[in-house]
Amino acid sequence: MGKFMRQLQYQVFLIPILIIYTLFTIYPLIRSFMLSLTNFNGYSKNYDFIGLKNYVRLFADNAIVSGISFTILFALATTVLVTLLAIPLALILDQNFFSKNVLRAVFFFPSIPSGLLLAFIWGFIFAPIPSGILNTFLRESFGMSAQPWLSDPVLAKISTIVVAVWATTGWHAVIYLAFLQSISKDFFEAAAIDGASKWQQIRYITIPLLAPAMTVSVLLLITNGLKVYEIPFALTNGGPGFETHTITQVIVLRGISEAQFGLASAISVIFFLIVLVIGFVQFSLMQKREERMQ
């Protein structure tokens, strides 16, 4: 059997997944782009071609502008905070101590329930009324007055980001933990013999060898952050005003609620391009950093 035939033999196995991928990813993408050039309202199959009108409208729409800025803030903030918390957490959970398995489960647990459920529970914690759990705690412990956690423009953004960080840190710590456990102990023993302190071992051995884990974790955080929907929607419903609207919420709002499917498709196309560019740039930078560090 020739080399070509041998390779072709393996490619055949890709056909089913290629068909599924084309049907459920490529086709909807193309269809979205086509609909973004129309005034399709989501109900009637009779619609007109309106060119780039929807794309022009994007930039005059306050909800879209706010949605883009909050989504980018959310993605960046959660990526930085989760990374800063997950690595130390993974280092602690990697130690050999009595309750390590229980603690790993405890930190991993928040990533299991859906974002909607978590946000619902946190809604009670953040309840802006004096009887809200957090406000009661702050009043009884520090004599603080009730804070509008979900209705002040700044506090609402912070509250949303805090819940997302709380929910995902444990999951990303597990990624780092898996990589940590694959690092050979010999490195640390050799470093210890050479007189390296614990901090130096972390700085010069652990962190560089965690670079591939960081690439994966940061990529997931950025992409999940950009397509966030559930937590801000369930916590603040996008408010006050447009302050915590996310791009995905705007797409649903314009497409489903307001029957402007063409406009929603245009937002989706732009959103797709934003995620593609950010994802590509981030992945390239992280890979270069990975190569440099190793």
Partner: protein, 425 residues
């Protein structure tokens, strides 16, 4: 080995095909005992509703008893957004149920898209109140049947009113504000409003300030003769001046959910909140909670306004293969038995002709003064177009006003801008 596997697969496929055929045969087999003793084909009628299955159970069972050859494939989606998006997906993919509900929020899209059968001339439509028809109609033709309506008002805690020294209910807007301030002085939260929807205070104020003078004002806005600014600016100014600036309503209430407000009222932590018949069951089960329901007073005595609307209507899918059975179900809904069973299951206020409605005593005033005298308003019902887009803009404008980001004039400008934007889409 290969042959055995192949044989096994073939047998399995053959079994599946035969069993599928068998299923079809049995579902379509003649059923005896149908009305009139005639044997009829078994039919499965699919329904998508925003009343859940337990609410619909009595009427579905009553219908099945009468027409044993018809069974149901019942689907539920909670109102409003979830229901609308589920129905929209179904309609677009030609997989919508035989019967579905039309609400104020999606009536235009459904009617314009030709998704619902014109029911205007069917005899059972005579039962429907004329005042219920416009919400489910276009150009004088009605596309859904509703037998109910709802009216909501401001639930107030009698004990808290008494504690604050309030002995009489406010009869004018100024008295209403004075009552709120008196409650506040007594250390009681006067009223909770989540501002997560087009607020009911706004709706009732608009009723009192604008519709009382000109009932066709909304029509004029959509005909281009008036703007939202013409009608709503004063409403927003009064709301901001008397409720926001006095801190009776505070911006932190934006973060509350409807459930939290309900439970705060049930716990006696707030004196008033807006709700409707759907909350009666819950509140009446709270021990020692003595409450009443009032309308929002106008500027002169006797001008209270309530919030309310016709209930969502049942429509028949224009692409249904079971049109006859679907119409039979609507006919049953309009019968005395159907109305009674629907009321038993849903506890909604039945407004059909010839049916004496049962209303909770606390809602009696709202029913008589509001619903029956037409002193109710819900913008999404009278707005003929862009209900959801405008509603969303109202919510955003209200929240921005509450946090002090924009003035009432800017809030209304944003709504007019949204309207023009939608007109040009």
């Amino acid at each position: 080995m290969k042959r055995k596997s192949l044989l096994l697969i073939m047998v399995m496929i053959a079994t599946m095909v035969l069993s599928a055929c068998g299923g079809k045969d049995s579902s379509e087999s003649a059923a005896s005992g149908a009305e009139g003793g005639q044997s009829k084909q078994k039919v499965k009628l699919s329904i998508l509703a925003w009343n859940n299955e337990s609410e619909m159970k009595p009427v579905l069972e009553g219908f099945q008893k009468k027409y044993p050859h018809i069974s149901f494939d019942f689907q539920f989606a909670p109102p409003v957004k979830d229901y609308i998006s589920k129905l929209q997906t179904m309609l677009l993919s030609d997989s919508a149920t035989d019967i579905f509900m039309i609400a104020a929020e999606n009536r235009n899209e459904i009617i314009d898209g030709g998704h619902a059968i014109d029911l205007t001339d069917y005899p059972f439509m005579d039962v429907m109140l004329d005042s219920n028809k416009p919400m489910l109609s276009k150009d004088g033709r009605t596309y859904a049947f509703t037998q109910n309506g709802w009216v909501g008002g401001w639930f107030y805690n009698k004990a808290l009113f008494e504690k604050a020294g309030i002995t009489e209910l406010p009869e004018t807007w100024d008295e209403f504000i004075a009552v709120c301030l008196k409650l506040k002085e007594a250390g009681i939260v006067p009223i909770y409003d989540t501002m997560q929807d087009l607020t009911q205070i706004h709706s009732a104020l608009y009723g009192n300030m604008v519709l009382s003078q000109d009932p066709d004002f909304d029509e004029k806005i959509f005909a281009g003769e008036k703007t939202f600014a013409d009608g709503w600016t004063e409403v927003f100014k009064v709301w901001k001046r008397d409720l926001i600036d006095t801190k009776i309503l505070t911006s932190d209430m934006i973060g509350l959910t409807g459930d939290q407000v309900e439970s705060e009222f049930a716990l006696g932590n707030v004196a008033m909140f807006f709700s409707g018949p759907w909350v009666m069951d819950k509140l009446t089960q709270v021990p020692d909670l003595d409450f009443g329901v009032m309308g929002l007073p106008g500027f002169e005595k006797g001008q209270s306004y309530y919030v309310g609307a016709p209930g969502v209507g049942f429509a028949v899918n224009s692409k249904t293969k079971n049109k006859e059975e679907a119409l039979l179900f609507l006919e049953y809904l309009s019968s005395e038995e159907g109305l009674q069973l629907f009321h038993e299951g849903t506890n909604l206020i039945i407004t059909a002709k010839g049916f004496e409605a049962e209303v909770h005593p606390a809602l009696q005033n709202a029913y008589e003064e509001g619903l029956m005298q037409g002193r109710i308003y819900l913008p999404m019902v009278t707005w003929p177009r862009y209900q959801e887009a405008l509603r969303n803009q109202f919510v955003v404008s209200t929240q921005d006003m509450a946090v002090g980001k924009i003035t009432p004039e800017e809030a209304v400008q944003a709504i007019d801008k949204k309207f023009i934007e939608m007109e040009n889409y």
